[in-house]
């Protein structure tokens, strides 16, 4: 849809999301690039039976990982959805800190059998999402050969080497974060905030992006666009500079 919906309220932007949805959460799992305000609004919507797709998940709130010293009192990560049992399953690459001193809400939910965790190698996860967004139903990769990841997967010898068949991953909704959007949904990212955002933008039926500001397309350089607006449905910001 070329029509983009622009919101100044995170709550309004996600209010029609439903129980039982699959939701991709962008970023790497650190402060920069995480759609933190959309996540907080989603938590407050108090849905149930969600399937979340993230990368590093639930590490920051127990270790401070990836958050600036000056923001250590504001840390939010994907474990906020586990406290009130909103999640049925999370698919991610890094849900458990190496230290066992403090259990994350995700590990607690797993121990109490309240939520399922599917752990996927990070590169395979990224490629599954990229494939999902670009019409590739499956692909072969060497990652995970000879490990637990291989279990119950088809494999194939190509040029004398073994590869595993991995399937594409799509979701109902992607919540992502970018720096700037124009009114057409063209997105500009900053530094290392890209991570899973550009690929998750492509892989869901509904992509909602949280941005620092919206400016007119006349004021942004097309050479700098990281995600073309075709992938974006809703834009939400507290800083709408469109006149």
């Amino acid at each position: 849809m070329t029509k983009k919906y622009i919101y100044t309220s995170y709550k309004e932007a996600i209010k029609d999301l439903k129980d039982d949805s699959s939701i991709m959460i962008g970023g790497f799992g650190v402060q920069g690039g995480q759609p933190t305000n959309l996540m907080l609004a989603l938590r407050d919507l108090n849905l149930s039976n969600l399937t979340l797709i993230g990368n590093v998940a639930g590490i920051s709130m127990v270790t401070g990982y990836g958050w600036k010293e000056s923001d250590k009192d504001k840390i939010i990560d994907q474990s906020i959805f586990f406290k009130d049992k909103q999640v049925k399953k999370i698919i991610c690459s890094f849900p458990i800190p190496s230290s066992r001193n403090t259990l994350s809400e995700i590990e607690k939910a797993w121990i109490n059998e309240e939520a399922e965790i599917e752990i996927i190698p990070q590169g395979t996860l990224a490629e599954k999402i990229r494939a999902g967004g670009s019409g590739i139903p499956a692909f072969y990769t060497k990652t995970g050969v000879g490990t637990i990841v291989e279990k119950e997967k088809e494999s194939k010898i190509i040029n004398g080497e073994k590869f595993l068949l991995e399937y594409a991953l799509n979701a109902d909704v992607s919540l992502i974060k970018a720096f700037i959007s124009d009114e057409k949904g063209n997105l500009i990212y900053k530094g290392t905030s890209r991570a899973f955002n550009p690929i998750m933008a492509t892989a869901s039926k509904l992509t909602i992006v949280e941005v620092d500001k919206i400016v007119s397309s006349k004021d942004i350089d097309p050479e700098r666009i990281g995600t073309p607006g075709i992938y974006v449905d809703r834009i939400v910001t507290k800083n709408n500079e469109l006149s």
């Binding site: 790497f28 650190v30 402060q31 920069g32 690039g33 990368n55 590093v56 990982y65 990836g66 958050w67 600036k68 010293e69 000056s70 923001d71 690459s93 890094f94 849900p95 458990i96 800190p97 190496s98 066992r100 590990e107 797993w110 965790i117 752990i119 996927i120 190698p121 990070q122 590169g123 395979t124 996860l125 990224a126 490629e127 999402i129 990229r130 990769t141 060497k142 990652t143 995970g144 050969v145 000879g146 490990t147 637990i148 990841v149 720096f179 990212y189 900053k190 530094g191 290392t192 905030s193 890209r194 991570a195 899973f196 955002n197 550009p198 690929i199 990281g226």
Partner: protein
């Protein structure tokens, strides 16, 4: 058996830093491996990659100047530098799996004599974090492991077979520990360096598979 003093983390990091090839692209794992960067010889012209989507960083940011959008995969905030580039996770792992990295340095829980690596899950915990490790071990041209030689309970971490879940098979090229440097070859594990005061028998007694002592065995290189 009583043993001489072991080397420390800094010694391991220094020794691993000597492995980084000149003019190479390198990914350093979280923890001890990332300490390597501290000892880097500038003239080697090494470019670091972090799997969250950055190439070309070298300096860690001061605490009061941290930028949330300039960070490595281990969570260290970085200083912007000329020559840096940023990319998304699909491109980052395409780079990794596509054999474009010359080396990765990773931590380990266990390594087998065939060079199998286990570094993502302690068996009895039943759950762990794979992160980018499985992609790095199949994609990087060379895999260096840095770790303590034994567990806190004094059990060998270099084993005939790993009993923790594997990260990759036949993937480790060299093991740098707090008492020895060991190369993984087809014929077995070759002991090439040994810490000051240690005998080959003492190192062997803390290593499950039989070590082949190199005829060029030298003292472990330290600062």
């Amino acid at each position: 058996m009583s043993y001489p003093k072991k080397l420390n983390k800094e010694d391991i990091a220094f020794r691993a830093s000597l492995e980084l090839p000149s003019d190479s692209y390198v990914n350093l794992g979280i923890g001890m491996p990332s300490l390597c960067a501290k000892y880097l010889q500038k003239e080697k012209n090494i470019t670091f990659q972090a799997e969250n989507g950055i190439l070309g960083f070298n300096e860690i940011s001061k605490e009061d100047e941290q930028d949330e959008n300039l960070i490595d995969a281990g969570g260290q905030f970085l200083v912007k530098a000329p020559g840096m580039s940023f990319f998304d996770s699909a491109e980052s792992f395409g780079m990794i799996r596509g054999n474009h990295l010359d080396m990765t340095v990773l931590g380990a829980l266990q390594v087998s004599e065939k060079g199998d690596l286990a570094n993502w899950m302690i068996k009895d915990r039943g759950i762990g974090s794979i992160g980018g490790a499985m992609d790095l071990v199949v994609g990087a041209k060379e895999v260096i492991v840095t770790m303590d030689h034994v567990t806190k309970e004094n059990k060998p971490k270099i084993l005939k077979e790993c009993d923790f879940p594997l990260t990759g098979i036949n993937c480790v090229n060299k093991i740098i520990t707090d008492i020895a440097v060991i190369i993984v070859e087809d014929q077995g594990l070759i002991l090439t360096e040994i810490a000051e005061g240690w005998s080959t028998e003492q190192v062997q007694s803390l290593t499950e598979p039989k070590l082949i002592v190199s005829n060029k065995l030298i003292r472990y290189i330290t600062k």
